[in-house]
């Protein structure tokens, strides 16, 4: 299966070969869904979409399918309001954030240097849960990647 147009627009090769830092972001605005909550100089770092959209894309896109599966298996923690700290399974969080529930995905490249897709659930303005971290990793055969930055790509 091929990646969908949104996931396919991400410069993966540049990210894993260190030609591009994750802080430069995803081109998630391919779907016209950029957000104004991130800095203006990184306009395509954060993706916001509906559950329906990711369910639809998951039918053909393996990355969207993986994100959806992990979302369904995750235990979510609300970070705002009077339910802060409460744990929710998938069905429960969907009931807890009933209206206009949005999936927020941010490519993080923080101080500890791990590139990861941080996924949270929330309303159209912001995430309302702790993030679920999907780390971008290399296949384990690349033994030298930690010290040797010349990542070998197949193909």
């Amino acid at each position: 299966m091929a990646l969908c147009n949104v996931c396919g627009s991400i410069p993966w090769r540049e990210l894993i070969t260190f030609q591009l830092n994750a802080q430069y972001g995803f081109r998630f605005n391919a779907a016209g869904r950029t957000t104004s909550t991130v800095s203006e100089d990184i306009p395509w770092r954060t993706r916001r979409c509906t559950i329906a959209e990711i369910v639809s894309r998951a039918k053909t896109c393996p990355l969207c399918a993986f994100v959806l599966l992990m979302m369904q298996q995750n235990t979510w923690v609300i970070t705002r309001g009077d339910r802060e700290g409460t744990l929710f399974a998938w069905d429960e969080i969907r009931a807890a954030i009933p209206r206009n529930m949005m999936v927020w995905m941010t490519l993080s490249d923080d101080w500890n240097s791990y590139k990861r897709l941080a996924v949270s659930l929330g309303n159209p303005r912001h995430g309302e849960t702790r993030t679920m971290d999907l780390h971008l990793r290399l296949p384990f055969g690349n033994l030298d990647t930690h010290h040797n930055r010349d990542v070998k790509l197949i193909g």
Partner: protein
Amino acid sequence: MADIGSPLKVRRTVNCVVPLETLHPKTLQRMSSWLDSYDLSHPECSHLSTRVVPLPTRVLDVSMLPGQEQLFGTHQVWGDQFEGRDFKLLETSKGQTGRYAALSYCWGNTLPLITTTRSLEDHKSGIAFDELPRTLQDAIMIARYLDIGLIWIDCLCILQDSKTDWEYEAAHMADVYSNAHLTIAAARAEHCGQGFLGPRNVHVPLFLNVKDEHGSFELCFQKLPGLAAEVSETPRDVIFTEY
């Protein structure tokens, strides 16, 4: 944060996927290769590769247990090869040098086996590998895989009922760890009976074959909890974590 138009100044690493199997052959291979590369290219700790490092007052002599030659390629049945075997507590002489590993671990509430003034002579005669708590067994197996014949473990190398011995050894503990050829940190074991070589509790990664205008390449995603950088005060650590 740099703006989009500026040249890249920092290059970030992408780590490898975390295998479910702690004793994954690639993990073992990486551990050995790190140690080899440190011996060759880390002048600040290359002295640890020689045998001029003073030994602690007592160390466990595990050199009679199976080594890398016997263990290579048999990681799934390492325990079987150690079953029923003995090793010894060695009291070193002043100025004696050698190469040893040290274990950093969490005792937990109790320890099933310690060295005391009463058991000292018995332990110098022999200690049954089977009687050790799991974390200590795992540490010895890792040391032997790396062909290290001596290992320092506090509960067996310090007399636990002697205030004098404990005070002396506690005062020298920083030297013990800093002189160790390798410190094995059992970070994922909450107590000495838990061990740290069992399967990890991680999600199966997703492997994607991605095509772009330059051809195809493989991507991998893995759900992992927040990862913190490990900070160590010893020169050479191999840290066994859950993730």
